[in-house]
Structure formats: structure tokens, C-alpha cells
């Protein structure tokens, strides 16, 4: 188009904003972008697309949950009653609170308040660790009671060595058939969620380091923003996992309605 073209595109101009003068190319602005606004928008769209991918990733598990809960409703309720509701509820609060602090970290970084950003990220990371510690104790209890997926169901085991524990009591034999299916999904879904929490911690530590190094300012806070987006998704998935695993009951057909 080198020979013919003349008119500049006004729509494009409006869209990209006016805050950057030509030639003013900060070092955090990659060479193929014209303006910071363009780079920021791109990162946002990219993260949203990635979060769409995450939702679809978990969606298969939610479908499997729907199928097996429909088939084995009684077993799912019985399995659910074996979970520790107190710990689940505390964990939900911890994660929701961490989402708040993540949002506050973004706000602080938008305002250029570096030390406040640091504090908020640290609180977020602390909450994430708290969540994992509580989850660890929950898992350990399930291992100890033999409430495990598939063919491991019914044999109490030590969580770290995975050796059977002789003489330990398992409630498995008193539970309805197919309760193992509940625990298969419980471990797969909460386990994958926990992996996302661990990845989140890693990313937050990296963001923390960059913040301490002074990479961010009121003009450039994109990484904090998109990390918080990811963190909200991790939170969001848990908001669905919590009621589906901890808070369910079973009403036999014929007793439903009105």
C-alpha cells in the first residue's frame, strides 16, 4: 500500500487514544505496538480469551458431575456429608477475601502506590497458602478414611507415603454404591483447582518481584491487572465447586416439587 494510500483512519485514531506522543516509546512498550492503550487492551483480550479456555477446560468436569449425580444422587449426597463443611466454608471465605485483595492490588497499582500494591499482593499470596493448607488437612482426612477415587475407595492410606494404614476405620462400607464416583470427581476437580491456585501463587510471586523492582506505575500496570483477572477465575471456579461438593442433599424422586 506504499504507493497509493493517503487517508489516515479516524476510527483507528480515536480508538487508540491520544496520551502517547509519537517517538515517546517507553521501554515497557513492545516495539510492535503504537500506543500503551493498544498494548493494554491486547493483554486484556488475550487474558479473557484464555479464561474462556479455562472455563471450557472445567466444563467437561461439570458435565461429568451432572451425569453422575443424576445417576447416583444418593451416593453423591452421602459422599458430600463426609466432607468437612466447616473447612470448606472457611476456605470459601479465604478465597473470596483473596479476590478482594487482588482487586485492591490492581487499584493500588493503578494509582501508582507501590508499597500498598506490595501489601495487597502479599495478603493475596498468604490467603492462597492458607487455602492450600486447609485443603491439605481435608485431603489427609479423606485419605485416612479411605474415601478415595475409584478402586482406591475403602482402603485407608497415608497421604504422603500412600501406604495402606492397617486397622484404620473406613466409613466406606456403610456408604451407598458408587460413592467412589463422588470422590473421583471430588479429587479431580478440587485437585485441578488446587493446581490452578499453585500456579496463581507462582505468578503472584513473579508480579510481587516486578512490583518491588519498580516495573509498575500508574501508566503501566497491565501484568497486575491480568493476573488479578486470572485469580478471580480461580475464585469463581471454587464458588461453584463449594456448593456442588459441600452443600448437596438428596431428595428421592416422588418427594420433589412444590
Amino acid at each position: 500500500m506504499t504507493d497509493t494510500t493517503a487517508t489516515a483512519d479516524t476510527e483507528h485514531e480515536e480508538h487508540e487514544g491520544h496520551e502517547e506522543h509519537h517517538g515517546d516509546h517507553p521501554k515497557w512498550l513492545q516495539h510492535h505496538w503504537d500506543t500503551p492503550a493498544q498494548q493494554f487492551d491486547a493483554a486484556k483480550i488475550g487474558m479473557w480469551a484464555f479464561l474462556g479456555q479455562e472455563l471450557l477446560f472445567f466444563s467437561g468436569l461439570f458435565v461429568a458431575y451432572a451425569v453422575y449425580r443424576t445417576w447416583y444422587g444418593e451416593a453423591f449426597a452421602a459422599g458430600s456429608h463426609e466432607l468437612n463443611r466447616t473447612m470448606g466454608t472457611i476456605n470459601t471465605c479465604v478465597l473470596l477475601f483473596s479476590s478482594l485483595t487482588a482487586a485492591l492490588a490492581v487499584r493500588a497499582s493503578q494509582l501508582g502506590k507501590k508499597s500498598e500494591t506490595t501489601v495487597m499482593i502479599l495478603v493475596t499470596i498468604a490467603c492462597a497458602f492458607t487455602f492450600l493448607v486447609i485443603k491439605y488437612f481435608e485431603y489427609e482426612a479423606k485419605f485416612h478414611h479411605g474415601l478415595l477415587p475409584g478402586s482406591f475407595f475403602g482402603t485407608p492410606r497415608d497421604m504422603l507415603t500412600f501406604q495402606p494404614i492397617p486397622g484404620a476405620h473406613s466409613p466406606a462400607s456403610e456408604l451407598p454404591d458408587h460413592t467412589h464416583a463422588f470422590f473421583s470427581l471430588y479429587f479431580v476437580m478440587t485437585g485441578l483447582h488446587a493446581i490452578h491456585v499453585i500456579i496463581g501463587i507462582g505468578v503472584w510471586i513473579w508480579i510481587l518481584r516486578r512490583n518491588l523492582r519498580g516495573d509498575f506505575s500508574s501508566r503501566y500496570f497491565t501484568p497486575v491487572d491480568v493476573t488479578a483477572l486470572y485469580w478471580h477465575l480461580v475464585d469463581l471456579i471454587w464458588i461453584y465447586l463449594y456448593p456442588l461438593f459441600y452443600l448437596i442433599d438428596y431428595v428421592p424422586p416422588g418427594h420433589r416439587g412444590g
Binding site: T2, T5, E13, H22, H32, I45, F50, Q53, L56
Partner: protein, 550 residues
């Protein structure tokens, strides 16, 4: 605002001398392995996918050779099962899914946008290495007993058979994330890096196709990922989700698998259709008839592809009601496909067609896509599908779409952009001869398979009844012709690298945006920032200088 400039040096300065091509800007193996240039990454993909294409192609030749005679010809049944599985898995996950978007797409997409690179260059390189890692797992599986499940990995067979199933499934799982990240990258690039004046209604149809493909990659691939993860957990830890002994449901696996793998068919075909748009426009010097209808049909195909997965399962025991719904939805696919075919035909009507080698592939695409698409209707119809299900008819049908359409379009695109990519012209006369060999060979392989299938020859069988022998032999002879054409084509390209004439800027006199860049382009693609004032197919608005060779 001066965001858009015609002055190269204004942008941060120092990035790339416009007189040095991207191939010469740095030398040495490391300058390739850690490059962030979309063009070099595209070439690394191209070399990788072609390697796997040759490998999986040789597997196909072995399958055809085994089927030359009933009973044993060259290998035992277990080996045969592994060979056809390898053919399928490698062709699908390591060749055809990344082939067009990640290689040609990577190269051409930013250039068609008038951009310097994709939105996330580092993510782009990461995608490539994730793909390589996935391929390593597949190779590991190959040398550790391989897999005999077929590319679909159906449970419960895949959880109980011997062989390195977990490694192979892990390879597909990892390669999937490469596909997802490429999709994310392209979506963002198309949204945020269009040159000034490049409105959505001026977007080249190749990019509309890649855009629709990217949406599918982002939304469908994760479902495959979770399915394969559950399959690995099932096999490694026996969690019972797909195991009927434990109250699990193997058919649920099929639902999950096809929820991805049907859209995956469109991940494969949409980029092929996308290339054909460019070829037809360039070689007729015409605007694609019904531009809007064509890009809407791409998006419609992307949407419909999510609604038809259970047509792979008409005989798997799902409810008749589900069968009817999915059959009806499947017929919907014919509408956007038909829109495209009619628009391409309409563009060709009374046009002055330059039958250069890329255009020959586009014309063959039209012919073969019609056969592949129309035979799809036979399979969408429940009554005929019960007869044709799991026969060679299905094999022929999807090979007409995957090979006869997508791979032909890929070859066409490769010929079309080769001068831009390498700066060299290949031997056009030989390329035309090679095309005819490939065309004849290809149709000799697969046309007889429709007949075989309709007469009841089941797919994947090692042995067959004597009455099928003649048609099997025709098909096998065709595979040899096809192989000669394929290897000769690759050789023709290699020769052009050594002794091809220097390519002019615009050897096909195209009005497409990417041809404004030099051949091969400099590091940041354009000497000056392009400003777009017309559509990519507006030959009546293009100046003589633009469509001139140099």
C-alpha cells in the same frame, strides 16, 4: 495522532533495516531457536509439520501396502493396528491441526494486517516449543510400544490395551495447549493490530477464516484436554469415570471426545477454505462474490460445529431422540458450506482464470470439497449412516475433506506464498505436472473407497473378503502415485531454495495486502507502515504499481 506513520525510524528506532530480509538479519542456529519473529516461527512450524506429514504419510503407505492382498501382506495384525493409529494420531494432532494456522497463518497473518508481528511474540515462540514437547511425548510413545487404539482413543479399550497409551495421550494433551495459545494470540492480533484503514469489512477472507478457527481452538481444545486428562487418570489411577465396572460410562468419553473433535474438523477445514478465498481472488483478479456472506458462513460453521458432535455416535446407543436432533443439526452445516461453494463458483463464473499452480490446487479443492461435503449428507442421514457407519465410505468421506480439501488448500497456499516466504521462485512448469500427479493419485486412492464402503467393507480391518480385493488394489496403486507426486513437490521446493530465480515482490500480481512487502520481507515486514484505503480484492481500485510484479 501520529501513531501511524510512514517513517520507519520513528518507532522506537533501530528495529530492523528495511533493506535486509528477515532471513539475513541474523545468522546461525540460535537466531532461529530463540527468534520472536512470527515469520521465522512460521517456518519452524512449517518444517516441523512437514516432517510429521512425511512420517504419517509413510505410515499411510504402509497401511495401503498391507491391504494390497487379503490376509498378511507385509505385517502382522498388531503392527497394522499400531501403524494406522500412528497415521491418524500424527496426521491429526501434529500435522493438520497446526499445519495451516501455525505455519502459513503465522507467516501471513501479521503481514495481511499490516502489522510488525503478532500480538504476543514470546507466547508465539512458547506455543512452538509446547508443540515440540507434545511431539516428543508422541515419539516417546512410538519407541515404547506405540498405541493400537485408533486416533479416537475410545474407552474402555484405550484404558485396558497394552502399549504406551499415556505417553501418546499426553502428547496430544500438550500439543492442544500449543493450539490454544496460538488461537489466543491470533484473536488478539486481529483485534488489536490492524493497520490504519483496515476495518473489519476490509479484512482479507483468509483472516476471517483464521479468526473463526482461532475461536474454535480456544473454546474446543480445552474440552479435549480435560477428556484426555481423565483418560490418563483412568488408565494410571483407575478412577472409574469411564469404566462400566465401576458405574462409569464409556459413552461419556465419546461425547467429550467428539465435543472437541467435531469442532476440530472445522479447525482443519476452515483455514483451507480461507486460503482458497485468497487464491481464487488473486488468480481471477476479482472480488470474492458475496464477501459478507463468505465471512459470515465461516463464523456460522464455527458455531454449528459445536452443535453436531453426537452424529459420530448414531450407533453407540444414545437415544433416538438425540439421534434425530443431531441429524437435523448436522444438515445445517450444509448451508454455510454451500454458501461458500456457490460464492466461489460465482466468482469464477465468466472470469479470466489464470491457472497457475496454486490456482490448480484451489480448483481441485472445489471439486473435492463438493464430493467430501455431499457424501457427508449421506452420513448425516440416520438411516443411511447405520449402513455406512465405520465403513470405508466414512474413511473416503473425511479424507476428501481433510486431504482433498485441507491438504490441497495447504499445498496451494504453500505454492502461493512460497515466493514471499523464501524470496525464490519454484519451477512452475514442474509444479503443474506435479499437481496433476497428486490430483490423479489422490482420487485413485479414495474414490474406490466410497464403493468399498457402500458394499460393506469395514474400516480399520486388517483382512477382507476376496470380492473387495480389486478395489483395494486400485486404492493402493493410487497411494503410490500420490506418494510420487508428494515427494516430487517437496523436492521441487527444495530445488527452488538452491537454484530458484529471485522472486519479485508480487509474482502473482495480487492486490492482497501482504504482497506490498518485499520478497522476502524485512524484519518488521513493511518498509513503510501500510495505510489501507481499499479492500484486499478491490482490483478496480488497486494501482498498476501495486499489482505490478516489482
Amino acid at each position: 495522532m501520529a501513531a501511524i506513520t510512514t517513517d520507519q525510524k520513528g518507532h522506537g528506532g533501530g528495529h530492523g533495516d528495511p533493506n535486509v530480509s528477515y532471513l539475513d538479519v541474523k545468522k546461525g542456529i540460535m537466531s532461529w531457536l530463540i527468534t520472536l519473529d512470527h515469520k521465522r516461527i512460521g517456518i519452524m512450524y512449517l518444517v516441523s509439520v512437514m516432517t510429521f506429514f512425511i512420517f504419517a504419510g509413510v505410515m499411510a503407505l504402509l497401511v495401503r501396502l498391507e491391504l494390497l492382498t487379503p490376509g498378511r501382506t507385509i505385517m502382522d495384525p498388531d503392527t497394522y493396528n499400531r501403524v494406522f493409529t500412528l497415521h491418524g494420531v500424527v496426521m491429526v494432532f501434529l500435522f493438520i491441526i497446526p499445519a495451516i494456522p501455525a505455519s502459513l497463518g503465522n507467516f501471513v497473518l501479521p503481514m495481511m494486517l499490516g502489522a510488525k508481528d503478532v500480538a504476543f511474540p514470546r507466547l508465539n515462540l512458547l506455543s512452538y516449543y509446547i508443540y515440540v514437547l507434545g511431539a516428543c511425548f508422541a515419539v516417546f510413545s512410538l519407541v515404547n510400544g506405540a498405541v493400537d487404539t485408533g486416533w479416537t482413543f475410545y474407552t474402555p479399550y484405550s484404558t485396558t490395551t497394552n502399549g504406551a497409551v499415556i505417553a501418546m495421550v499426553m502428547g496430544a494433551f500438550i500439543a492442544g495447549f500449543s493450539s490454544i495459545l496460538t488461537g489466543v494470540n491470533f484473536i488478539v492480533t486481529i483485534h488489536k493490530l490492524r493497520a490504519p484503514g483496515l476495518t473489519w469489512s476490509r479484512l482479507p477472507l483468509f483472516l476471517w477464516g483464521i479468526y473463526a478457527t482461532s475461536i474454535l481452538q480456544v473454546l474446543a481444545t480445552p474440552v479435549l484436554a480435560i477428556t484426555l486428562l481423565l483418560l490418563m487418570l483412568e488408565r494410571a489411577l483407575d478412577i472409574g469415570i469411564f469404566d462400566p465396572h465401576k458405574g462409569g460410562d464409556p459413552v461419556l468419553f465419546q461425547h467429550f471426545f467428539w465435543f472437541y473433535s467435531h469442532p476440530a474438523v472445522y479447525i482443519m477445514i476452515l483455514p483451507g477454505m480461507a486460503i482458497v478465498n485468497e487464491l481464487i481472488a488473486t488468480f481471477t483478479h476479482r472480488k470474492i462474490m458475496g464477501y459478507r456472506a463468505v465471512f459470515i458462513s465461516s463464523l456460522a460453521l464455527a458455531l454449528f460445529s459445536f452443535l453436531v458432535w453426537a452424529h459420530h455416535m448414531f450407533v453407540s446407543g444414545q437415544s433416538e431422540y438425540a439421534n434425530m436432533v443431531f441429524s437435523a443439526l448436522t444438515f445445517l452445516v450444509a448451508i454455510p458450506s454451500g454458501v461458500k461453494v456457490f460464492n466461489w463458483t460465482g466468482t469464477l463464473y465468466k472470469a479470466s482464470v489464470w491457472t497457475a499452480s496454486p490456482m490448480l490446487y484451489a480448483l481441485a479443492f472445489l471439486f473435492q470439497f463438493c464430493i467430501g461435503g455431499l457424501t457427508g449428507l449421506f452420513l448425516a442421514m440416520i438411516a443411511t449412516d447405520v449402513h455406512l457407519h465405520d465403513t470405508y465410505f466414512v474413511v473416503a468421506h473425511f479424507h476428501y475433506v481433510m486431504v482433498g480439501s485441507t491438504v490441497f488448500a495447504f499445498f496451494g497456499g504453500l505454492h502461493y506464498w512460497w515466493p514471499k516466504i523464501t524470496g525464490k521462485l519454484y519451477d512452475e512448469k514442474k509444479a503443474k505436472i506435479i499437481f496433476w500427479i497428486i490430483f490423479v493419485g489422490y482420487n485413485t486412492v479414495f474414490l474406490p473407497q466410497f464403493v468399498l464402503g457402500s458394499r460393506g467393507m469395514p474400516r480399520r480391518y486388517y483382512d477382507y473378503l476376496p470380492q473387495y480385493e480389486f478395489l483395494h488394489q486400485v486404492s493402493t496403486v493410487g497411494s503410490w502415485i500420490l506418494a510420487v507426486g508428494g515427494f516430487w513437490m517437496i523436492w521441487n521446493f527444495i530445488v527452488s531454495l538452491r537454484s530458484g530465480k529471485k522472486a519479485p515482490r508480487n509474482p502473482w500480481n495480487s492486490a492482497g495486502y501482504e504482497w506490498a512487502a518485499p520478497s522476502p520481507p524485512p524484519l518488521e515486514n513493511f518498509v513503510k507502515q501500510p495505510i489501507i484505503t481499499r479492500g484486499p480484492y478491490d482490483y478496480h481500485l488497486a494501482t498498476d504499481a501495486e499489482i505490478a510484479e516489482d
